[in-house]
């Protein structure tokens, strides 16, 4: 998601080609070509410029609607409905060929990852591991972070693992569903004993009302994330000995 303007000039984009299986966009106003995944202009009068990222989430509609009941949803175009992706499109896409692969990583090219970029580092998290473990603590560069899966079992968000007003770096623990003390919370922190929801806000306890700072993330295939983030590290699931 990108802010579609540079120096006050609004840009309208068209899909204009493919570069290493990530699409190129061309803006109508200057004819410059932009790489979709990086937001960087690669050719044309605006070559070298970058679009500003608009923070976004990939969520289930139910989770989003519960958080944003006043929000609006893109409407279908009746004439195009038959051309939209089928419900199992993501399963079918796993079969699509790739021309870029990084076999030395041990990861299949189309392994779904959650990619994070910030604090001078890039890091990728296997999506299945995130959904399985629900709450994962890790670091992005030297910054402690937290990745949380929503109760819907599909939506994931990343946060800085720092509570406003608290000096120490807390640990976060999953709250089991139906626990009477923290009925609506997903997780609890070790520093204040507060219960936190999927929006990263404390809904019970000493930190009630405080919110964790979001870390931008993108769900992407491993080959694409790795190709455009060559210095990325990968989260490996810790196995019990």
């Amino acid at each position: 998601m990108w802010r579609a303007e540079v120096d006050g000039l609004r840009l309208r984009f068209h899909l204009a080609g493919i570069n290493d299986q990530n699409f190129l966009m061309r803006d109508e106003e200057t004819g410059s070509y932009w790489q979709q995944i990086t937001g960087a202009a690669v050719s044309g009068p605006l070559a070298g410029r970058r679009l500003t990222l608009v923070p976004s989430d990939e969520l289930t509609f139910a989770t989003w609607k519960a958080e944003e009941p006043q929000g609006t949803v893109l409407r279908e175009v009746a004439a195009d409905t038959g051309l939209y992706a089928k419900k199992d499109w993501d399963v079918e896409m796993l079969k699509a060929p790739t021309v870029i692969a990084y076999p030395e990583s041990g990861l299949p090219p189309r392994e779904l990852m959650l990619g994070l970029h910030g604090f001078g580092a890039s890091r990728a998290f296997p999506y299945e591991a995130l959904l399985k473990d629900k709450v994962i603590e890790d670091h992005l560069g030297s910054e402690p972070i937290l990745l949380v899966t929503a109760p819907d079992g599909h939506s994931v968000r990343a946060f800085r693992r720092r509570i406003p007003g608290v000096a120490s770096v807390p640990d976060f623990y999953r709250v089991l569903a139906g626990q009477p003390v923290l009925p609506a919370a997903l997780m609890m922190d070790s520093a204040t004993g507060s219960g936190w929801n999927f929006q990263g806000c404390a809904i019970t306890g000493k930190s009630i009302g405080a919110c964790l700072e979001r870390v931008e993330s993108i769900k992407d295939y491993w080959f694409d994330w790795r190709h455009f983030n060559p210095a990325t590290t990968v989260y490996r699931v810790k196995r019990a000995r």
Partner: protein, 165 residues
């Protein structure tokens, strides 16, 4: 003194026009295509050809039709005239085709987008959406929808946004 047959001279002029216009048309399509790894330099060249080929194509069309007029003044046989005209028109056809980006035809962008209130949407709860918040406005783009257009040019609370997938 031996003079070159008009037909041969015409071909000598037209063949380079045909070849050059074909290369200028096909090279970017060949490089920038799906399921192929592009190198940075290769991509740069292909995009440069796309951006700067128009005047060259015009010059090639002008050269082809100049040669055609010259040839028709010297050739009366209708079959040869028809063949030469077809060749010149082929150059013009490739020049016209070079004005069209096939990807922009295949992946036509969504026109001005329209939206439904969250409470009135008939989307299933488990449908995945890309969600953003800009200013006071929360907006969701269903992935099965946006993945067809790949780009939605939108205005969210006065901010121009390119929703891409």
């Amino acid at each position: 003194m031996k003079t070159t047959h008009p037909g041969r001279r015409f071909l000598l002029y037209l063949f380079p026009c045909l070849l050059a216009s074909c290369i200028l048309l096909v090279y970017p399509v060949y490089v920038i295509r799906p399921f192929r790894a592009q190198g940075a330099r290769e991509l740069s060249w292909a995009l440069a050809v796309t951006r700067y080929r128009a005047p060259f194509m015009l010059a090639l069309v002008a050269a082809a039709f100049t040669a055609l007029v010259w040839y028709w003044r010297r050739e009366r046989r209708w079959l040869r005239r028809a063949g030469s005209a077809a060749a010149a028109l082929a150059v013009a056809g490739m020049a016209a085709a070079s004005r069209v980006n096939i990807y922009e035809l295949m992946f036509h962008p969504l026109g001005p987008p329209s939206f439904t209130a969250a409470g009135q949407s008939k989307l299933d709860g488990d449908e995945m959406v890309i969600a953003i918040q800009v200013g006071q406005v929360a907006r969701a783009y269903p992935i099965r929808n946006i993945s067809y257009y790949h780009i939605v040019n939108d205005l969210v609370d006065g901010v121009a946004v390119a929703a891409t997938y």
